[in-house]
């Protein structure tokens, strides 16, 4: 299967075609040109016309270049030696360490049988009230941070990663700014976590196709560690760059775009990656925290939109805070019935009141007289934003719940709070509840 072909028929964007026989869909090839060698994979077969996407890009490829088929799909080395290492999207070292070629495993493997999954049940504590109280993060969850560019999303990602008690951290960087890459590296090194981390980093200046490989390669490695009993946290930043790379290839392949230029299988492609988040019965787990930047702060943009339909919630980062609206953890109810009996009611009740506060704010901004109810809400909203929403707040869940009751009782009467009488009796601070 090591036959060499030297007749490249067409070069268009990052996709080349070559005439060849007996090659298999999805397999790898090496394209050697004057500028060096690049991997490529087969993405379409039509009689003897083979289309390949060239990882290093089509630029500089000449019709006379050599194409050598390797007879296997894209693989990555899976060993303990990955720890502390940094690679690019095609698995080549980015650091000074050696090339790894032992124990190669396929990337983009089959999905987990749903019948083999279990219901996740372990809360991941972050010390951030907007997460712990209102949108609890759960082991094996897949959850992106929705963010406008310019927000401190990578800082938030790193903070959660450092706080979470996991065995292994896999960072998949896509279109990552070099500075951000250095930031992650520094964060992990100073906290001593780098020796249980592995990075697959595609930076903004690397070839597009390599960006496409980052999630698969990161998740393949994570999955293996999880099967061996490790709790793995995968950080994927920024999945919008991944989607844009898909769009670029789709356009080159003349696919009919479905929405703003993105291919019709955007949903399935994103899902194939995110669904790798799993809790293996009797083994470890894969948790995925991602970043999805929203072009123009538009949640309805196809990338955040499709992502939201796939992931188990999202943290909506805006003005340096996690917004109560738009943020969601779909797995919270798996764990918040076990935390404390007031957790669920407080979580919903406080958000309902915050929604009312927003309405009062609206009225205020239009210059209406504030009723005493509005005034209470304004006070509440301000306290909520300062004491709960600010990312500088770092307190355990139980303290945050107590704080919630404090805020409610300093703004409202128990009846105004909308909380169930039984909970008011138990948690309402001060003398108000006796009046009831």
């Amino acid at each position: 299967m090591q036959k060499v072909y030297t007749k490249i028929e067409s070069i268009s964007g990052n996709v080349i075609t070559v005439l060849a026989e007996g090659v298999r869909n999805g397999d790898l090839a090496v394209v050697s040109s004057r500028h060096g060698a690049s991997l490529a994979n087969i993405i379409r077969l039509k009689e003897n016309v083979v289309s390949l996407q060239v990882f290093a890009g089509g630029r500089g490829v000449s019709t006379g270049d050599e194409v050598r088929f390797l007879g296997h799909p894209m693989q990555v080395s899976y060993t303990e030696n990955l720890m502390g290492r940094v690679f690019d999207g095609s698995g080549k070292p980015r650091d000074a360490g050696p090339v790894l070629d032992e124990n190669m495993i396929d990337i983009g493997g089959p999905s987990v049988n749903p019948a083999k999954r279990i219901v996740p049940k372990n809360m991941i504590r972050t010390g951030i009230p907007m997460i712990d109280v209102f949108n609890t993060l759960v082991e094996s969850q897949k959850l992106p941070i929705f963010s406008v560019s310019g927000e401190p999303y990578n800082e938030l990602l790193a903070r959660i990663a450092m706080q979470a008690e996991v065995d292994i951290i896999v960072l998949g960087g896509m279109g990552l700014k070099y500075d951000d890459y250095l930031f992650f590296r520094e964060e992990l090194e100073t906290s001593g976590a780098m020796n249980r981390a592995v990075f697959f980093v595609h930076t903004a200046s690397d070839p597009t196709v390599e960006c496409l490989l980052v999630p698969d390669i990161s998740l393949a490695v994570a999955e293996q560690f999880a099967l061996e009993g490790k709790k793995v946290l995968v950080l994927l930043t920024d999945m919008t760059n991944f989607a844009d790379a898909m769009k670029e290839i789709a356009i080159t392949m003349d696919q009919v775009p479905s929405n703003r230029g993105y291919p019709g299988d955007l949903y399935s492609s994103l899902a194939a990656r995110y669904e790798k988040a799993v809790d293996f019965e009797g083994a470890g787990s894969v948790t995925i925290l991602a970043v999805t930047t929203m072009p123009g702060d538009d949640v309805t943009h196809p990338v955040p939109d499709n992502t939201g339909y796939i992931t188990e919630g999202q943290y909506y980062l805006k003005n340096g805070r996690i917004e109560p609206f738009g943020s969601l953890s779909r797995l919270k109810q798996q764990v918040n019935k076990e935390t404390r009996d007031d957790h669920r009611s407080l979580m919903d009740g406080m958000i309902k009141l915050y929604a009312s506060y927003k309405e009062s704010m609206e009225k205020k901004s239009m210059g209406f007289q504030m009723s005493d109810w509005d005034i209470k809400l304004l006070k509440y909203g301000e306290m909520f934003e300062q004491q709960m929403m600010e990312l500088t707040v770092n307190i355990p869940l139980e303290e945050a719940l107590n704080l919630g009751w404090e805020i409610l009782s300093s703004c409202f009467s128990p009846e105004e709070s909308g909380m169930k009488t039984s909970l008011v009796m138990k948690y309402w601070p001060g003398k108000d509840k006796e009046d009831k």
């Binding site: 007996g22 749903p114 083999k116 299988d265 339909y309 009846e415």
Partner: protein
Amino acid sequence: MNTGKVIGINGNMATVEFTDNISLNEVAYIILGDSRLKAEVIRVNGKEASLQVFEMTGGIKVGDQVEFTGELLSVELGPGLLGQVYDGLQNPLPQLAEKCGFFLQRGVYMNAIPDSSWEFTPSVKKGDIVRPGYSVGTVPEGIFSHRIMVPFGFSDGEYSVKKIAAAGSYTAREEIAVVTDSSGNDHSLSMVFTWPIKRAVTRYEERLKPVEPMITKIRIIDTFLPVARGGTFCIPGPFGAGKTVIQQTTSRNADVDIVIIAACGERAGEVVETLIEFPELTDPRTGKSLMERTIIICNTSSMPVAAREASVYTAVTIAEYYRQMGLNVLLLADSTSRWAQAMREMSGRLEEIPGEEAFPAYLESVIANFYERAGLVRLFDGNTGSVTIGGTVSPAGGNFEEPVTQATLKVVGAFHGLSRERSDARKYPAIHPLESWSKYTGIIDSKKTTFARDLLFRGEEVNQMMKVVGEEGTSLDDYIVYQKSEFLDSVYLQQDSFDPVDGSAPIERQKYTFDLVFTILHGSFKLSTKQETRNYFNQLRQRFLDLNSAEWNSDSFKSIEESLRGKIDEKLKANE
């Protein structure tokens, strides 16, 4: 064996060269080493056929052999379907897991119906005349009497029973009867037969208009936006608005015999919740586990896309099968948009001329045909059976002005539209009470529900007006209307699905509490300021919420009700 050769591969579409006759929608297998990958012929052009492959296509090469089966894509029907968990092609997932472990291995297909033994009781005797769809006997399957029927696919006409097994235990694929057609040919019957999933089963006397309500125990649905047995409904909504939670609670509480859950292209984790919880939950109607009345068809988002397209048809075919036994079946599909997207992906690969948002031009008729398979029917034996279909829709950007939502709205009988605004404010279930509609009749006096709905409209108007003129510019009467509509919303329309009591409201409780709400909505109160009004309604609300989470007719229910009624009487004007 009719064979062909792969000449091209593009995503999950294979182009195959063939010589003998093949038919559209026939099943073929691509031979890949030891494994056989299932595929369906979706276009024939000259000597080339396009096949959608139900598996990942990595490793296929030009020249690989293809075997055509001559059979249309079908499911197996017979006793033993209940409680099963299948993928979109009716492969049993737990059994697959036993065989292959954590991961789905492609090319492994197992019997959908296990070869277990069943206690057969014949209902015909030698010489009786039967037709396709007639029953020849029954076996007990859980709590149901499962009819063993003359296969629906037999050609029309009369058959005489030549041989019928005596009462006793037989395995599913054993011969239990022989029938002779009018030309004298014998046909052997077992308890299992197949049916092509894309064809509706029409072995019944007539279709009837769905009238009887299908209770979901969700107040806003049963009281205001009811669904009928044999009817159709859809739940469109942006992500996170609560589509899946509504379907999950409905699958638990719906007042039907059998529930079929089609988890179509969404999260695997959501199915797992059902998978793990249902065997533990008791069905209040039967005292048995909920799983015994449930079938799950599970083709989640990372499973092959072509099988996702098939999964909704697999589900509806099984639903029709149980309907033929005189049962009421509910099919819940989450999400029909993923099914439509699967069609779109394939249409793109076939290079068909794209319609709006690149969906194929036939999208609308395909959706209409799917929902048409719901219905209430009178069977040959005079009994009725029904298939009710409820599908979620996941519109791009949460905007209902998109092809799948629009095509669905044209054909369904009830529309439960979810609103982002309501889910953001944690007003669950986030069904928009004003924009949603239902063409079916519910369980509560429609004069009263119309009154309540009007009040919601007016309350919303007042709320909008207050945003222009402020609270100070609003009259006390208007303000009371607004408070009443807010009250109705928070104590009746909203319902906490995760509260063990509030989560499901049985019908007599709905009737009772709605009357209580109605007294308040309809009453006039001695209130003289807005401040007093707001405080008063807060007090009413507090008590009502406590009532909602109190066990029906328990002591605490009664004492809260008393305190609530006391509160009402405090300000209610006597003449009302």
